[in-house]
């Protein structure tokens, strides 16, 4: 993709075909967080939170970071802020997208979001990249 970004440009999406419960198990170690809603379907059911394991929130942020880094090669994230709007579950098909809102010198600011196929936006926010 050209580095000549301008406001309104859509960044190349980043797709996760199917959220993996194996990754959740790995992340419970990375985060030193053994919360069973990420590991045990029976616990999720018992808590009335559905019938699938729930992805750790920071993984969803990482997907949006992956989108940014792939769409703007050579850039680095200077700031990012996003809101958690809904859960992501094992097996969900996800698409992270971004839209450039401004370019100021070597700073590119964009709106970002993470959508679940058939269920809508689960995470949204703003990021600024140094390009």
């Amino acid at each position: 993709m050209s580095m000549n970004f301008k406001a309104g440009d859509e960044l190349t999406p980043f797709v996760i075909e199917s959220v993996s419960p194996d990754a959740m198990r790995d992340w419970s170690v990375f985060l030193a967080d053994p919360n069973p809603i990420h590991l045990d379907v029976e616990v999720v059911k018992a808590k009335g939170l559905g019938d699938k394991r729930i992805n750790q929130g920071p993984i969803n942020v990482a997907y949006m970071m992956n989108m940014l880094m792939a769409a703007v090669p050579g850039s680095r994230i200077e700031s990012m802020n996003s809101r958690f709007l809904d859960n992501v579950y094992e097996g969900d098909h996800l698409t992270a997208t971004g839209t450039v809102t401004s370019v100021d010198g070597n700073r590119l600011t964009c709106e970002i979001k993470l959508d679940v196929a058939g269920r809508g936006t689960v995470n949204s926010g703003v990021a600024t990249l140094i390009i």
Binding site: K47, R76, E78, M80, R83, F84
Partner: protein, 150 residues
């Protein structure tokens, strides 16, 4: 709203850590691949380590932060938002330590969740050897207060 007791006064509680967090090449690679990408070739770690390193090496566990807020972690704290400002990228093989504090705990009435406390805490990641922070992050959690539900 005025019928509820105020949220515990916890603003200013230190979250300075004593642990050292080192980003290993092996774990960074596994983490990157678990999110669908290969690790960077230039030695930078995945930027999501802003969250992981600060959470793991802060001075309290998530359960401990909840306890400070007089909230049982088993009652289901929910992430509201997470923000970060980087001064420098995180590097594989480097070791870091954390400073931070609880910024606020605000009791609110939510149509969807009933009474809840909104917890904001701020963490900074520094080189183990000391010096300016590489990043600062604000995390916001929602603590549903089922016991105060009407």
């Amino acid at each position: 709203m005025d019928d509820f007791p105020p949220a515990p006064d916890v603003a200013g509680t230190s979250l300075d850590g004593t642990k050292v967090f080192t980003i290993s090449a092996e774990e960074n690679a596994a983490l990157c691949r678990s999110t669908g990408v290969e690790p960077a070739a230039d030695g930078t770690a995945h930027p999501i380590y802003y969250y992981i390193a600060t959470q793991v090496a802060m001075g309290k566990t998530v359960a401990g932060v909840c306890e400070t807020c007089e909230f049982d972690v088993d009652d289901g704290p929910m992430m509201g938002s997470s923000g970060v400002k980087f001064a420098d990228p995180l590097m594989v093989g480097e070791s870091y330590k954390v400073t931070g504090e609880i910024v606020s705990l605000v009791r609110k009435q939510s149509r969807k969740l009933g009474v809840m406390d909104v917890l904001t805490y701020r963490l900074r990641l520094h080189p183990e050897a000391g010096g300016d922070a590489l990043l600062e992050t604000d995390n916001v959690w929602v603590l549903p207060r089922k016991e105060l539900a009407g």
